[in-house]
Symmetry: C2
Subunit: 417 residues, 2 copies
């Protein structure tokens, strides 16, 4: 299969997965808003959810379903346009009713579908419309490119493009396994707190064989390095969810402790996380910040996130303004240990690293509104990779974000109305 | 003296203070950029500085001067347009040279002037230009409205207006004392960490008699409730500084433990903090968030700051969009303890409180894109006061911020260039 062919299959690249999506009328725009990702056979499942105390009904339900039995899951049913958050007991009942009807419609066991929602906080699910959409959803569902394309679009809200990934590899025992996935998310995106903070919606699939407990551990660790290192606007949503389904269709030994499995999973997660960052609301550039030489991983993460999340850095990148003091300023308030006089920052451009800060001072030519070369680079680069060295230890971390443009404000001043 | 008269005197309202400001060429625009606030007699002084690890030269110097002897201070010398940050040992020497020359020019003792700078991070002070500005600064300095107006303008950068305060009151022993002040700040403003986190530039004056240790304690506590509860963009600057000078010209007993003194000081600080929030870069509305019923003061502060700092809430206020879910979402990730089903939020309008969230659910009419009345209120109000009740305890806090407009992006994409 060609790389392009693999990519086109997205979440249905692994054996035994199908997907579909339709417009059932939740979104006033008439765009697709109901989707399913299905495994033909029971799959191990794991989930990582928002740490926001205000949790949407599908988050509460999804947590409950995975606590009860994560070993025989069959799929994920997603509604976009409405978050089903701040909807109380009625919201949970609405989502339960929806899942039960979907399980009957798709002829899968009770309790085997996981829920997700994204959209406006406050309104209840328009249940009649969504239930009426289930039968069309069933007929739209298939294992080909068509079904997964519809699904990947139907989970979007303000996103400008679908986010998909597909990859393959060999495990320690020689089994060839596949990974796939789709994601959604462009506003209200920020990493937050605790060991298990998820961001946005991400649905990963694999045909590897993994037990639920290992799956849960591997997903949490992978999300922590990828989705949790994405920042668009600093707001952590009520609905953030990442699910991983492993249906074992590839056979072979259990991959629970196989580093090859973890590496393939992490690369799939990173691919989706980068796409989410790049499609941040109003974004014109992807911002990638790598911090090296931190005393601890926690320090490296804090420092990378502070820079990628600084609205002043983001606005400077949008304006192609080599205002390097803003990077030092963000590092300084990140909480990471550092010696301000030993900070080095460079802008990577292909094989070259253009110095921005050297030993805590602006690089030559950047201290007085100069920096024509850096400005031209910033104007030209679609991806702006900042490399930061703190010289305090050996820990490293990478964070992804985007610039701050006029469109971000426009989108968010008018989204609800 | 009329209230207007009092206000017009600003930082020189207390007896024995003078001020002045000139343009010496630091700002390319030719706007005023060098200023002084002087006490005719030695004053007790206190300072609160940024917690950013990357500290500007004037911050390091100001801390050192106050550690050495805070009892015989004579004034504050401020340069705007250049932050004198990331300038290493040379930057500290530049600022020392400037202070020494100013002390000779104004005929005050060595070590009696405190430094402040604000502006672009990176460049060194244009020392020749600033030194040449000292003599014109001296001749512009006076105790009248003219001098203080010049000074209040000369400390500004992207601010759209000067921020001043003046008030009077009676202490416990009957002494009538005066307070005055000026502030600067509209971008790179956020409260941050620790018991002594300052924000922006704020210079307070009083003719009360207070010993330095008490002054330091009272300033820290007042700043914590006022300047540290202001958020414009979440970035904590390298240069944040608040100074308080008490020259004792009013006579009377020491006011070290007089609650009346603390109350007058806090009200002066709050007045300046509100002006700073209202003049946030690109702001069209002042956002005031009061949280009541929190379990602890720390919880109340976190919750109020999360709402006032949420870019999604800020953008919704700019768009007059009654998207109340964003308020609940920000509360949920604030870290404050709460029961999501017991959150109440109202919008204050005069004597009326219009419910936005009741018991964790959108108020009637707000759950499905309704809310015409709230929208009209948001369009009309220049100050948007949100009142939040968590029903978990008795602690309360207030935070100030502003909406997020297109102009914020414009200002920050082009500020440096």
């Amino acid at each position: 299969m060609t790389p392009l062919g693999r990519f086109l299959r997205g979440a249905t690249h692994p054996r035994g997965f199908q997907a579909g999506g339709v417009a059932c009328g939740v979104k006033r725009s008439g765009r697709p808003d109901l989707s399913i990702l299905l495994s033909k056979r029971p799959a191990s499942a794991a989930g990582v959810f928002t740490t926001n105390l205000v949790k949407a009904a599908p988050v509460l339900l999804g947590e409950e379903l995975l606590r009860r039995d994560p070993s025989g899951m069959r799929g994920i049913l997603t509604v976009s346009g409405v978050a089903n958050a701040m909807t109380g007991a009625e919201g949970i009942q609405d989502n339960r009713t929806l899942l039960e009807s979907a399980e009957r419609c798709f002829d899968v066991p009770a309790g085997s579908l996981l829920p997700a929602c994204t959209g406006v906080i406050g309104p209840r699910l328009p249940l009649a419309a969504v239930l009426a959409g289930l039968e069309p959803l069933r007929t739209s569902t298939n294992a080909g490119r068509d079904g997964v394309r519809r699904a990947a679009h139907a989970i979007l809200t303000t996103d400008t493009r679908a986010k998909e990934t597909a990859t393959s590899g060999r495990l320690a025992d020689g089994t060839r396994v596949r990974f796939g996935g789709m994601a959604k998310g462009s506003g209200m995106i920020a990493p937050k707190l605790g060991p298990l903070h998820a961001t946005t919606l991400g649905f990963l699939t694999t045909d590897a064989r993994v037990r639920p407990a290992a799956l849960s551990r591997l997903l949490a660790s992978g999300v922590d390095r990828t989705f949790n290192m994405v920042s668009v606007d600093g707001d952590t949503s009520t609905n953030d969810t990442v699910y991983l389904l492993a249906n074992g269709a590839a056979g072979g030994a259990y991959a629970d402790d196989d580093p090859a499995f973890a590496a393939l999973l992490n690369s799939s997660l990173e691919s989706l996380a980068r796409q989410v960052a790049k499609d941040g609301e109003g974004a014109t550039k992807l911002l990638t910040v790598t911090v090296r030489g931190a005393r601890t991983v926690a320090d490296a993460r804090s420092a990378a996130r502070a820079v990628v999340g600084s609205t002043l850095v983001k606005a400077a990148v949008f304006g192609a303004d080599p205002n390097v003091g803003r990077i030092a300023c963000a590092l300084g308030y990140s909480g990471a240990e550092m010696d301000p006089d030993r900070i080095d920052v460079a802008l990577r451009s292909g094989r070259h690293a253009v110095p921005l800060i050297v030993g805590g001072r602006p690089a030559a030519g950047l201290d007085n509104g100069g920096g024509k070369r850096v400005r031209e680079l910033l104007l030209r680069l679609e991806e702006v990779p900042l490399e930061i060295a703190l010289h305090r230890g050996r820990a490293a971390a990478t964070a992804w974000g985007c610039d701050l443009s006029y469109s971000y404000v426009q989108i968010n001043a008018a989204y609800h109305t």
